[in-house]
Amino acid sequence: MPSFNLFQRLSQAPTKPKAAPVARQFDVADLYQGPIALGAEGETQARPFDEKLRQAYFWIVNHAIISPHYDIEYNDGPSQTYSVGDSRRTLNLPSAQSYSSFILLPLLTFATRRKCLFVGGPGRGKTASALLMGVLAGSTVKEVKRAMQHGHPQMTVADLLGNPLPADLVNAQSMDDIRIAWRAWLGMRVKIVDEYNRIPTRTQSALLTVMGDNYAEVLNHIYECPEAAWYLTANDDQGGGTYQVIEALRDRVDVTVQALAFNPRFLNELLLRVEENVRPEELVPPDIIFTESEVDQIGEAIRQVGIPDAVRRRLEFFASQFELFETAGGQFEYMTKDTARLAGADRGQAQAADNGRDRLKDLGCQTLNGISVRTLMALMIYAKAMAYFRGNGEVALEDLRQVLPFVLHNKLQPDPDAPFFALPENAAYRSDRLGWLRRLFDLSNDEFNRLDLDRDDPVGVLSAEFDLGLDGVSERETLARLNRIEKLIAERTKGRKLYGPLYDDLLKLKYLHQRYTNYRSWLRSQ
């Protein structure tokens, strides 16, 4: 007779009930479903993997990591809100199933095999959370702990990757004869690097190769690592570690989550652990352990989740806001923040030469950089993973809105001198980067709505027309299209200030114009 499992109980499926399908099937076995757990009857049904993922999430939030912070809020209809304190901050009571980012984002990282950085003060569960992910992948707690890399100031490349065997070093006639004792963690499906900002810069570069290219190299010997989810932790990601984290390594991180403070109202949970002498990571229910093939299948299913055009357009519009820096380039294509950065230009001077745009309205003025391709890809993957986790086949705008701040956390650098941050109501966004990023996305969506781009997007129409292909398009039609593009450019540039989305639209129109021009030349040569 098993004793009560205080920590191993799983939420009853489904954890996210959906409207019943129209075709109904009643199961007589429901008669024996109830609070008493019966022995398996050989009729255990395979759960869909999204359900398994949700069960893993709910087990972790209910029994393992005490993180009662529902900061990923979903609403189904109106929600109750309260204005609290002198600052009149909003306390929202979400009307739909909401989640704790500190658990959910690492879990989505596990499902998509991406790279997650935990930041936050000591003792807030960063390492414990990473450890749990290792256990979910089927390793024992001991294995995960032994394979975990602990960053320290004396860490060498050999410490990180492996040593040549001493006997071979003496006897070998060539490099090929030297065998390498690779570190065990390189073969793990969940890789954990604790306090990565304490690793010396040279060793960080070796780590970068493993993180970026998934192989390790020592003395011309290569170790190909399996696909893995990565978890890194840092007490302070703003330069407070022993060494500065190299930019490229930081850029490899797909998502950043912050460990929030412990709420003493949950002290009884800690007391229970003390009294029962249990560690949740040692009691992970076998039902939520994922095999390698299951994670493969989940990854495949996540990639199949669709992003509707309407949602994609909003992301395009948002991403368009940030790269333009009008005074940085003489040529149209080079008017970007990256041009200014590469040249090491004085940003203040360049801004002073700006031509009087509405610097409050222009979201691009709030950041020092734009959004990279890698970041956009991570954003789409996490949005898909979020939709999959919620049991949906398509990404909703809210899915994108919820994951966006965590993906852009380390990527989109705010400009503290921007007028936006000088407004008293925005002062908190100087330190609350997640809140600022979410606000940024909301402002972008407001602008999208104001421009009515869902219904009136002439560049989108021209682009869709081009996407249908050029097969059979006559010269006359080509000329008509070229004419439409030129007219649209003339119309869009007439007396307007240049904002990010317009800049990208103009570049897109230029691209289309060029393609049609080439096609017209080809037609004439036939």
């Binding site: 409207a19 024996y32 008493i36």
Partner: protein
């Protein structure tokens, strides 16, 4: 006072039993130890006694299983003097001891199945828990295995009014020895293949009158406004006070499930050619049934076996067999 047999087992494992109770109190902060004590006396003791008589060597194991389960059930507020529905107490006290030989071999399965089934049946509006208990008690001497207990419980749950279990229960009945299956249907002299075929063909076998379902929610019924009904293959989609339901009915009972507006829109209206409404009288083939409803505005929906009759003047739905 509990029986000496039970007291002796509790005394022999006192530390262990106390430890389990302490652990359960952490898991169920609302666990009332007085209520648990009362349930031990009222619900656990009789079955421990019954097992002591049938298989004395298994008393320890059965007691341990029953004790843990009792903690869980009382912790959930499902058993004991403060239970929301007393049916579970009755099942432990009166029904479970009848399965003592089976309890001795598989205490967790038998007690778990009986408990879960009792909770389930008690939660289905319109089901008749007492009938299920009586039926189970009647067949108890013939039940020789956990599998048979499982199947016979399902069959009797259907017969006790859980109408949506019809298909599954018929399949379960087929796994039973014919004598036991016939006993479950209270037709000991019949031929099982024949009974099975009739049950499969006709949901209203043995009930020519049909049944009336539903009443005003203000009086404890199901519908806030007089319901409107449309037919589907599974039953009828009902709309009342902006809410939608699926009504599944047969000879043994009628059960309401939640449904959606979309399902209501997709369901069909109208009646078969064999049905004719003449004022307040329905003609089904050669039969004529006078309705105690005002003529006019009477609505009829029908599926393959059943006619559902509603009127804006009543919250009840009349369900009539079509054959």
């Amino acid at each position: 006072m509990i029986s000496p047999a039970f007291a002796s087992v509790l005394a022999s494992g006192r530390a262990q039993f106390n430890g389990r109770a302490a652990e359960a109190r952490r898991r169920f902060p609302a666990l009332d130890m007085a209520a648990f004590g009362a349930f031990l006396h009222d619900g656990v003791d009789p079955l421990v006694l019954a097992v002591a008589a049938a298989a004395p060597e298994r008393v320890g194991g059965v007691t341990l299983a029953a004790y843990d389960m009792a903690l869980e059930l009382v912790g959930h507020g499902l058993a004991g003097p403060a239970a929301k529905n007393p049916f579970l107490n009755t099942v432990w006290r009166e029904l479970a001891p009848l399965f003592a030989p089976l309890l001795a071999t598989a205490p967790v399965d038998v007690l778990g199945m009986l408990s879960n089934a009792a909770i389930h049946i008690a939660s289905v509006a319109g089901a008749r828990p007492a009938q299920w208990q009586a039926g189970m008690a009647a067949v108890a001497p013939q039940v020789g295995s956990v599998a048979q207990l499982r199947a016979v419980g399902q069959v009797l749950a259907w017969r006790a009014g859980v109408a949506h279990f019809r298909q599954g229960a018929l399949a379960a009945a087929d796994t039973l020895p014919p004598a036991l299956a016939l006993a479950a249907f209270d037709e000991p002299g019949a031929q099982w293949p024949q009974v099975h075929a009739q049950l499969l063909d006709y949901p209203w076998r043995g009930n020519a009158e049909g049944r009336e379902f539903g009443s005003f929610s203000g009086l404890g019924g199901d519908f806030g406004t007089p319901p409107q009904v449309r037919a589907t293959n599974d039953g009828f989609i009902v709309r009342s006070a902006e809410r939608h339901y699926l009504l599944v009915a047969d000879a043994y009972g009628a059960v309401l499930h939640s449904a959606t507006a979309q399902e209501y829109e997709q369901a069909t209206t109208g009646m078969p050619s064999s049905v004719r409404l003449d004022g307040a009288t329905v003609h089904v083939g050669a039969r004529s049934i006078a309705l105690d409803l005002p003529a006019g505005d009477i609505a009829i929906a029908a599926n393959a076996h059943t006619l559902a009759i509603t009127s804006p003047w009543t919250h009840a739905i009349r369900l009539l067999p079509l054959a």
